[in-house]
């Protein structure tokens, strides 16, 4: 590989080149090899500190990053929302000063406000990995989805992937688009008109994407589907008539599955509302890659941690 890794932070993949994505996916293969060993641990981040700063509830992503950091022998510290001062009304600015004083090498952060990782990255010396910010981005999810889809489909060039559901509020959808399109995939977005950004519904779409409100037509001949989680409060806020209608019109059922190409895989970032956006039979069926996504997630996060932390020589740190 000729391209060089020059990123200080992983905040969004929207300005990444295909080469940069390939570097991470290549590293992920190496990390899966470590995870397949009897003792799932390698030493490259020994002596480095990874701070997990989760200002919004998350178990899956936090545990995934924690396992990733530990597999690379990093020291891991948690600042979670419940145990930290975020809930006591401490400002993000104050938290950043604390993070800076703690002197972690990498800060992995989850935050409810879109753009919050940029705020932190500008004010600390640590490398910052965005583990999900508001509706904006979830880069490691996009990368692990790309890695998982490639494992199932091979080269993604010319492949058509359907993303169905609440695209408007989904950082996963945005990061999937930003990762899959540079790899050559085309994306069809589907979902209720109220849950698709207006500009995207009205023709001003990101490159490589299109919008098809009819999920059946979207799925016809598709190479794979990514189902998004539907938050129940969307109905309460008037964006949906009812969850029942949503499930009937946009839920991924076995009957809909057959519209895709034979063996086209199904993914979901989790946690799932089975019976709402996805039927249990589909979620646990033979075409589901949902458990694979979880396994690959750890490897992708190892790759990101390694690239950010191991590149910087230890003695450069104060």
């Amino acid at each position: 590989m000729t391209a060089k890794w020059t990123r200080r932070h992983v905040l969004d993949t929207d300005d990444w080149s295909r080469e940069e994505i390939e570097i991470v996916l290549g590293q992920t293969d190496a990390m899966l090899e470590i995870l397949s060993r009897p003792i799932r641990r390698a030493p490259p981040l020994r002596g480095r500190t990874v701070i997990l700063f989760f200002a919004e509830a998350s178990t899956r992503t936090r545990v995934s990053f924690e396992l990733a950091a530990k597999a690379l022998s990093a020291d891991v510290t948690n600042i979670t929302a419940s145990g930290s001062s975020v809930e006591k009304g401490e400002s993000l600015y104050d938290t950043v000063r604390t993070l800076q004083a703690l002197g972690g090498d990498v800060v992995v952060m989850r935050h409810g406000s879109s753009g919050a990782p940029y705020f932190v990255a500008e004010r600390t010396d640590a490398a910052v990995i965005n583990a999900g910010d508001g509706w904006h981005a979830h880069p490691s999810q996009g990368l692990l989805d790309a890695f998982t889809l490639r494992g199932a489909l091979g080269d993604l060039a010319g492949k058509r992937i359907v993303i169905v559901g609440d695209v408007l509020h989904s950082r996963v959808a945005r990061s999937d688009i930003n990762t899959l399109v540079p790899l050559g995939a085309r994306i069809t977005l589907s979902g209720p008109p109220t849950l698709i950004p207006t500009a995207w519904r009205c023709g001003d779409l990101p490159p490589g994407t299109s919008y098809e409100p009819d999920v059946d037509r979207a799925l016809d001949g598709a190479d794979g589907a990514i189902v998004l989680r539907l938050q129940r409060e969307r109905q309460e806020s008037g964006l949906l008539p009812s969850l029942r209608e949503y499930s009937r019109v946009w839920g991924l059922s076995e009957a809909r599955l057959v519209r895709m190409r034979p063996n086209a895989p199904v993914m979901h970032p989790g946690p799932m509302n089975e019976g709402v956006e996805i039927d249990a039979a589909v979620a646990h069926g033979s075409r589901s890659l949902i458990e694979k996504q979880v396994t690959n997630g750890v490897a992708v996060r190892m790759a990101l941690l390694y690239l950010l932390a191991a590149g910087a020589p230890l003695d450069d740190r104060p």
Binding site: L92, S113, F119, R171, P197, T198
Partner: protein, 402 residues
């Protein structure tokens, strides 16, 4: 004795400035705001009443005016609230507020949602010969938006405020102005649709005026994503800033290039009467936070002139139009004579760099920090003659109680 590199102008009049005193003196005071105004060439500024307490009683108007007289700097005119406490429930004592010296009424930032109450405010204002200044925004539609709703908000994952949230409010306000005959002034219009609605209302003869801010004339929603190219500049030639800088968070939000072009057209054809700053200084604690948590507002008094001169240089409007919108335009809106002693010497080509230390305002919240701009006010002369009301305001029946 004229220097070819300078332009003489009457002092600028700002219809819309937030001086934050009383209540938010950490953001601005009457004294610092009035001095910042002079720095920007504004010899007269209208203080918005959304202070704490809000300026909703004659005593508070008198107190504001006496503090301003003692503070020096620009001449400060008082805008009083439309409703008591800006709560939108009952009218403030509008006749007594006018008698105490209020030049206009506004619940700026808290649009009067009840159309019946707004109608009655317009009816009172008409009789008093004063303006009702409305911040047109449908709060249910703008909801929790923090920037313009469009392709940029979709990409950034930020909740958007659609252009329609402004335009439905403008349409309602115009219908009520037609009904009441009263003097409606729509402040900080930001969308192409709003300009078109006002253009048609004026053609119909409705007594309405409007203003636009320098930042809405110069910046687009791409600034939230980090662009720092003015509307007339090539975005590829201007270095970007990081995205989500809260200094770009302002209400109404920065809109699209098509909207900016429409604002300039409205300025050039006279649909837009005035350029007003909506100077909204904030203490850093209100801005040094997550984008969706940050306060709305840009500190604007000291950068207004160079921003609009940029559009003049690009050929989007003439110097005469722009200087008129800063002087005779707002005077006509207020129904006052230009204060004859207020004179400026403007150096349109003078280059200077915006810095936090260089700004007189306590509000350093501007996305222009570090930016080199062209155009400044070199000399300011301010007459201390009492300002006289020039007959009645537009469409007024009489000036009662004065």
């Amino acid at each position: 004795m004229t220097d070819p590199a300078t332009v003489n102008s009457p002092g600028f009049i700002d219809l819309h400035a937030h001086l934050r005193e009383p209540g938010f003196e950490e953001a601005e005071t009457i004294a610092t705001g009035a001095r910042a105004a002079i720095g920007g060439g504004f010899t007269t500024i209208c203080a918005m009443p959304n202070t704490e307490p809000a300026i909703d009683s004659p005593g508070l108007v008198a107190e504001l005016l006496s503090r301003a007289a003692a503070a020096g700097g620009a001449r400060v005119l008082a805008i009083a609230t439309i409703t008591r406490g800006r709560r939108g429930k009952e009218l403030a004592d509008l006749v007594e507020l006018a008698a105490a010296g209020a030049v206009a009424f506004s619940d700026d930032g808290a649009p009067v949602e009840d159309p019946r109450l707004f109608r009655h405010a317009l009816e009172y204002a008409r009789t008093l010969g004063l303006l009702v200044i409305e911040h047109p925004q449908d709060l249910a539609l703008s909801a929790k938006g923090v920037m313009h709703e469009g392709a940029v908000s979709a990409r950034l994952g930020l909740p958007g405020m659609p252009a329609a949230a402004e335009e439905t409010a403008v349409a309602r306000d115009l219908a009520l102005a037609r009904l009441a005959g009263g003097r409606l002034h729509l402040t900080h219009l930001s969308t192409a649709g709003s300009v078109e609605l006002v253009r048609r209302a004026k053609a119909e003869g409705i007594a309405v005026s409007c203003d636009v801010t320098p930042h809405h004339l110069a910046m687009t929603d791409t600034w939230v994503a980090g662009s720092r190219a003015f509307a007339w500049e090539d975005p590829h030639k201007i270095p970007s800033a990081p995205p989500y800088e809260s200094s770009t968070k302002v209400n109404p939000p920065l809109r699209t290039l098509a909207d900016v072009r429409a604002l300039w057209e409205g300025l050039a054809d006279g649909t837009i009467d005035a350029i007003a700053t909506d100077h909204a200084p904030h203490a850093s604690v209100r801005k040094d936070v997550e984008y969706d948590q940050a306060a709305f507002g840009i500190s604007g008094l000291e950068t207004a002139l160079p921003l609009v001169l940029g559009g003049v240089r690009a050929g989007w409007a003439s110097l005469e139009v722009v200087l008129g919108a800063l002087t005779t335009g707002p005077a006509r809106v207020l129904g006052i004579e230009l204060p004859s002693g207020d004179r400026l010497v403007v150096e349109p080509d003078h280059e200077w760099t915006v810095t936090a230390e260089g700004l007189i305002s306590k509000g350093k919240n501007t996305p222009l920090l570090g930016r080199t701009l062209q155009g400044r006010v070199r000399d300011v002369a301010i007459g201390r003659a009492r300002m006289e009301k020039k007959g009645a305001g537009l469409g007024a029946e009489a000036i009662a109680g004065r």
